[in-house]
Symmetry: C2
Subunit: 140 residues, 2 copies
DNA sequence: ATTAATGCAAAATCTTTGCACTTTC
DNA sequence: GAAAGTGCAAAGATTTTGCATTAAT
């Protein structure tokens, strides 16, 4: 007898986010969300997808990263002028940025305690607090 | 009798930084350092300089901003993918970023107390900590 | 004179867009 | 079949570069 379609976490995730589970989105979602949290640039993810045999154009990777971000599945991290990083960890947390290699690494929210946060100016609300701890390699 | 050349803070600043006090650099330095701290993009500063009658090319503005940064007179702030901001305040401090207008505003270092800073991974040292408090306008 | 800085236009990046074609619902 | 998504190549935007000219030491 017929069995239901194989379990596809990627497709389910996409549906929940209100995005059509197209072949390209499923492939990218698998790369991004199947294992642990990831930090990628569009170029990196595109290379990885192609390497995996997924046929996706770079434009679609950009579109998809923005759609995922807008859908709340990812967030954008700004650490490098002229190159956007996207992070699959959407919970409150911060980052180490290895200036030499371009690698990003999460810092759990709790491990940086913010005291005495200034209140936002009138008419505005804090939408997000980004903390980047920039690291350089110590010679020797 | 002959008097010494008029006092030119900009030229002195440049000399101290090891940069030749050319007409363009003096003009930009005056705009940047004469009054209070400033946050500018290359495009903004270029427009401002031209508006002031200074003849400077955009390429030179870019060069100059990077030279000033390398000389320790400014620092670069990353808040917007695809647009670099430069800040004349080089002391330790952080930023409010008004997402709607693109304006940057300093937050004094003391007004954010960092507790429990995680130690940098072996072989690396913290080169800088950037904190961006992103603000959005509250409707109403 | 020597060395460094500038301008310009061209190139390099990264990212977005327009539109015909394809896929999903 | 209607609506949404994709690919491609072209266009945008920002930033960098090469090299002849100009300016500072």
């Amino acid at each position: 007898m017929l069995r239901s379609r194989p379990y596809t976490r990627a497709a389910d995730l996409l549906k929940l986010a209100g995005l059509r589970p197209t072949r390209q989105r499923r492939a990218l979602a698998r790369l991004l969300f199947d294992d642990e949290n990831r930090h990628v640039t569009a170029e990196q993810l595109h290379a990885e997808a192609r390497h995996d045999g997924a046929e996706v154009s770079l434009a679609t990777v950009y579109n998809t990263l923005h759609q995922f971000t807008q859908a709340g599945l990812m967030r954008e991290v700004m650490v490098d002028p002229g190159r956007s990083y996207f992070d699959t960890n959407t919970s409150e947390h911060h980052h180490f940025y290895y200036e030499d290699t371009g690698r990003l690494q999460d810092i759990p929210e709790e491990s940086i305690a913010l005291a005495a946060l200034p209140k936002p100016p009138l008419g505005t609300a804090i939408s997000r607090i980004d903390i980047i701890v920039r690291l350089s390699e110590t010679p020797r």
